[in-house]
Symmetry: C2
Subunit: 272 residues, 2 copies
């Protein structure tokens, strides 16, 4: 079975997309074509969206599913009249929330021009800049300003996790590679010693590491399976010896790693 | 008025957080304390969550709001019995979806071990690696592999937008700075000329740019307001002359810029 799903929003549509997508994955026997329609913030755009949905309904021979996060009631009303199962991700919760809180909702779009958002924006940019400046041990200056320092062997997933922590949560995250030199001495790299309490480790299945490294440098010592096994074993031993918490990144997504570290390391997110 | 809001999930909790947070912003007169409780995936954890919510209800003297994305019905049932307004972000939509599609949902948690997810993971990592390798004009090799190349003056927001495109959508995005040398000739930087069709510009209000640059290098020519005005004016003139689409990043969040570029440049996202 094939169906089309639309995510319609007067903003970026990311919320409708995330919720809608995870709902769609609950129906494994259905093949969905997913389309995001962001910034539907005028009556004209709402009407065009309805036309697009109705055309799709005819082409598919079945009603599309439409997930909406539309705050403006007039726009919402128009989109809700499309020939589709329209699932309103906001309104369904607003009424019980108004009753619980005893106040009316403001029905205003988004929060992009609020003072809080400008602050969030700056925090995010600063966190990204910090992550980039402290990627892969590039600089160990200002590590005292880091919220967390990720360590692990090369290609264990440190960089994307660091960037996700910065972009999504505003966390100041550095990352520093553990290399074969560190395993000889079985000591932490000296620049990290003062920041032991901020360290968090990533580890990875050696076979998986071998595959990842082989894509980069096929046939190298670096990618060699025995070498990957050695590096992973030594890195884990070093982290255990030093009492540094670590997680196995092998079967986790970047979001999962970042969220797990956020909570296990008790970090305070700086943005929502 | 002060209330506590919980986001409870058997996964990362990011979906519950995004939806819940945007619903909370509709109630501007209420101050919310927001707490995310991820990976609630056992009966024991569910019971501990209920205790935490009930304790908070007592301390606050008011029921918390609880946004859940819990797939396991047993866990869901336990959490729903907390002394709170529990808003189930999944179940409320699952029933109408089952009716519309004529199939039962699988009620399985997440998608982290599916084949699709491993593919998504690789695509995301590759996109991040590409973005890092091609940040700020670092390398212009392989620009033919870019989905999009962001251009703009220094500190106009290119880097975080590039990284967001990579992490969230799997887009291969490079970025390249426009510098005063480019404005003398009013020509595109030569390495960009073959990729004109992939270029997308960011611009920014000169006063805002002045503030941002002043934080970095106070009192410098670089941060000087007149220089910022010159650079922005020339960059915009160059982009107009070359027919390169551009957006004003001044009052947009990183998500908004990335989403706008995704749609206006007609990019195909590689991951959901």
């Amino acid at each position: 079975m094939r169906r089309t799903a639309f995510f319609v929003s007067d903003r970026t549509g990311i919320t409708a997309e995330m919720l809608g997508h995870s709902l769609l994955t609950q129906f494994e026997t259905v093949k969905f074509t997913e389309r995001t329609l962001p910034y539907v913030d005028t009556i004209e755009k709402a009407r065009a969206v309805v036309e697009q949905i109705n055309r799709t309904a005819e082409q598919d021979g079945a009603r599309p599913l439409v997930f909406t996060t539309l705050v403006n009631p007039d726009i919402n009303r128009i989109v809700s009249q499309a020939n589709a199962l329209v699932l309103d991700c906001m309104e369904v919760f607003i009424t019980p929330m108004e009753q619980e809180l005893g106040v009316r909702s403001s029905h205003t779009v988004g929060r992009s021009h609020s003072a809080r958002d400008v602050v969030d924006y700056h925090r995010r940019i600063e966190a990204v800049n910090f992550a980039l400046a402290h990627d892969d041990g590039l600089s160990t200056r200002e590590l005292n300003q880091a919220d967390v320092v990720l360590i692990g062997v090369s290609r264990s997933g440190k960089t994307p996790t660091t960037l996700y922590l910065a972009l999504q949560f505003g966390i100041w995250a550095a990352n520093y590679p553990l290399t074969p030199e560190d395993f000889g001495s079985m000591r932490l790299p000296p620049p990290l010693v003062p920041y032991r309490s901020k360290l968090y480790g990533l580890t990875i299945n050696p076979e998986r590491l071998h595959l990842i490294r082989s894509e980069r440098r096929p046939g190298s010592k670096y990618a060699d399976l025995a070498n990957c096994e050695f590096e992973v074993r030594e890195a884990e031993a070093l982290m255990r010896q030093e009492g540094i918490p670590y997680i196995d990144a092998t079967s986790m997504s970047v979001e999962e790693m970042a969220t797990t570290i956020l909570h296990q390391a008790n970090l305070t997110r700086h943005i929502y």
